[in-house]
């Protein structure tokens, strides 16, 4: 076991899965010699020169090609350089990848992974800080996974690659090099659709994923909070959420994305439908502002701050 960061953990998972299954191929912009702009694929083209392909600058083409590869029998892992450039692939994902199994009544499927860095935190140019995970959660047939640590990044990516259906794998840019932890060399998989109770507690359930999980953990001092890392947003772990909400009776949902129609809206509605009578307080969302994600200078005003999270926790505790 070695202490590694998320970039290294994802690199390890890709390399091991390519070793294990010769049908796993990588495509994307600059994923070859350059090793990807975040160096996620560093060193892999030297090991697997015939299975890693730099593509022209064409995101819709990348995902569309991956769909064809997957239907034919490969296991493509496509990299979209930043989430801000994935929107060109919405048609391929929503009109094709998500429904090929259904439309062909199981004759064809699309076992591919689309990986992309996402979220704020590195103060890059415009459109490099997107967190529109809810868009993809709104596509039946697509799974959406968000790791929050090197350890779970490796295990979740392994599951995503082995999954029989298309998976959008969102890597929080801010966490790429922020945390190092022990990650086993040995193969392990973390199932998709299961949440992780990071910390048990009795007074309030806090739901988060990706980089916001860490901001939550920095904010809960003094609260008896149960913190749940969803890890997989679609499908999400209804059972774990309900068990916790029934125990605590209070819920705070924290995400970086804009509040309106963010994934917190789905969670909040689900909790209202299934556990309303267990609630002691209204469900509170702490989310990005109802605005376009600002550039670097104003970025800190946009996403949930520690102060805003604490305010929300105090608010639900008033009940």
């Amino acid at each position: 076991m070695a202490r590694i960061n998320m970039v290294q953990a994802i690199n390890l998972a890709l390399g091991q899965e390519m070793e294990r299954d010769k049908d796993v191929v990588l495509i994307g912009e600059d994923v070859g010699k350059d090793g990807g702009v975040f160096r996620i694929t560093e060193g892999l083209v030297e090991k697997f020169p015939d299975r890693i392909f730099d593509t022209p600058l064409a995101e819709s083409g990348i995902v569309g090609t991956a769909i064809g590869m997957a239907a034919y029998g490969l296991k493509p892992v496509a990299e979209i350089q930043f989430m801000g450039f994935i929107y060109a692939c919405v048609e391929q994902l929503l009109s094709h990848a998500s429904r090929i199994r259904s439309r062909s009544r199981g004759r064809y499927s699309c076992p591919m992974v689309v990986r992309t860095p996402y979220g704020i935190g590195i103060k890059p140019p415009e459109l490099h800080s997107e967190s529109t995970e809810a868009l993809f959660c709104h596509m039946p047939g697509i799974k959406v996974v968000v790791p929050s640590s090197p350890y779970n990044a490796k295990g979740l990516l392994v599951s995503a690659i082995r999954d029989p259906d298309p998976v959008v794998f969102l890597e929080p840019t801010r966490l790429y090099r922020l945390i190092k932890e022990e990650v086993p060399e040995a193969e392990y998989a973390i199932p998709l659709g299961k949440a992780n109770v990071v910390q048990e507690g009795t007074d309030v359930t806090v739901l988060a994923w990706g980089s916001m999980l860490h901001r939550v953990l920095e904010s809960i001092e003094g609260f008896d909070a149960e913190v749940i890392d969803l890890m997989c947003l679609s499908p999400y772990d209804e059972e774990t959420i309900l068990n916790s909400v029934k125990k605590t009776g209070r819920v705070v949902i924290v995400h970086e994305a804009t509040r309106r129609c963010g994934f917190g809206a789905e969670l909040s509605a689900f909790i209202a439908e299934e556990a309303m009578l267990h609630l002691k307080s209204p469900v509170v969302r702490v989310a990005g502002l109802d605005a376009v994600i600002p550039m670097a200078r104003l970025e800190d005003y946009y996403a949930p701050s520690k102060e805003r999270i604490i305010k929300a926790l105090n608010k639900v505790m008033e009940y």
Binding site: P56, L57, A58, Y87, A88, P124, P125, A291, R297
Partner: protein, 352 residues
């Protein structure tokens, strides 16, 4: 039935000014000595801006920045051919275009610090904000040209993008619409041979980018992108043609990205140093200088003076940017719609 050839195309490469500063007088565009000096001064100014931007980035005062080094002739030569009323749709590596058109330099610095205010184009210019999603803005130029045509204005639109941008679907959709409707639009591809780590020959199997125009029924031409005269002439001709109802043109400026892709990139990972060396001889500034020297309108003291003024001017613009201070956090919300939504009215109080 025999097979007949039903369509043929040929791609021209235009060079007027060679590396030694010799010009082909037969096709030399009509530029006065004053114009030549202006072009020279713009080349120096843009380069000074670029160098300072890189320095400021190194000092942590600017965010990720994309250098224009080596591409100045493609940018300044083409922008110099524009009229104030024309519309321009740039990508992110066109600071030389902005500077040529008179965009306030301090605002360009402001943008690259990560401040939206820097992209609030002054009212007397028609330049769209930088397009970060590569190639996706090409149809916007097509639309603006369409609008100009519908309104009966004698205005053209011009779109800038790179060799990488020519691979995007939006590029092809835009060009196709422009061809079908014969719109007054000029597409300028700065083929700088690289899209981050991807060399030009892996971007497209076509021999040139210029030839893609023929698939959409209009003319494409490749020009020496480090030859400011060739770029200027091709753009001027294309704009005149566009305004006369002759439809679109694609101009491929054959140039070279002398720097890393951006300040976040390390080109030594994928690009041989020798390649860069060979392009140093083709420097666009050197070429114009040699030409002007032969013409007797360049002296060392003139160049020293131009450089000194450029340095001072850029420094004063940096000061201006600093004096502008921090943006107002409420502006994150203020410009989402024309009017605030009910929720935004609450949020704006919370962040104030």
């Amino acid at each position: 039935m025999p097979e007949n050839i039903i369509e043929k195309f040929e791609i021209k490469h235009l060079q007027i000014l060679d590396e030694k500063g010799n010009a082909d007088t037969a096709i030399l565009p009509n530029l006065s000595d004053n114009d030549l000096k202006k072009l020279f001064e713009l080349l120096i100014l843009s380069r000074q801006f670029d160098q300072r931007a890189l320095q400021l980035h190194a000092e942590g005062r600017l965010g990720t920045y994309a250098s224009i080094l080596g591409q100045e002739a493609s940018q300044i030569g083409s922008a110099y051919a524009l009229e104030k009323t024309d519309w321009v749709f740039p990508s992110f590596r066109e600071m030389g275009v902005y500077i040529t058109l008179g965009y306030p330099i301090w605002m360009l610095f402001q943008y690259w610090t990560g401040d939206e205010r820097g992209m609030k184009t002054p009212d007397d210019l028609n330049i769209f904000p930088v397009s970060v999603p590569v190639g996706t803005h090409t149809p916007h130029a097509v639309g603006a040209a369409f609008a100009a045509k519908i309104k009966g204005h004698k205005t053209a639109a011009l779109s800038y993008f790179g060799d990488g941008g020519s691979s995007k679907g939006d590029f092809h959709e835009g060009l196709n619409i422009a061809g079908v409707h014969k719109l007054p639009v000029v597409f300028i591809c700065q083929n700088n041979q690289w899209a981050i780590s991807l060399p030009r020959e892996k971007q497209t199997a076509s021999k040139t980018i210029a030839q893609k125009a023929y698939s959409y029924g209009f003319e494409g031409i490749q020009v020496d992108g480090n030859d400011i005269f060739a770029v200027y002439k091709a753009t001027k001709d294309a704009l005149e043609k566009a305004k006369a109802g002759g439809g679109p043109t694609l101009i491929e400026c054959f140039t070279y990205r002398m720097s890393d892709h951006t300040t976040a990139d390390d080109a030594s990972r994928y690009r041989p140093k020798e390649d860069v060396e060979t392009w140093k001889d083709k420097d666009p500034l050197l070429r114009l200088k040699l030409y002007m020297q032969k013409k007797g309108i360049w002296t060392q003291s003139y160049e020293d003076d131009v450089k000194k003024k450029a340095t001072e001017f850029v420094d004063s613009e940096i000061k201006k940017e600093e004096a502008a201070g921090l943006p107002d956090s409420k502006d994150i919300i203020n410009y989402t719609y024309k009017d605030l939504t009910q929720r935004q009215k609450k949020e704006i109080k919370e962040i104030a």
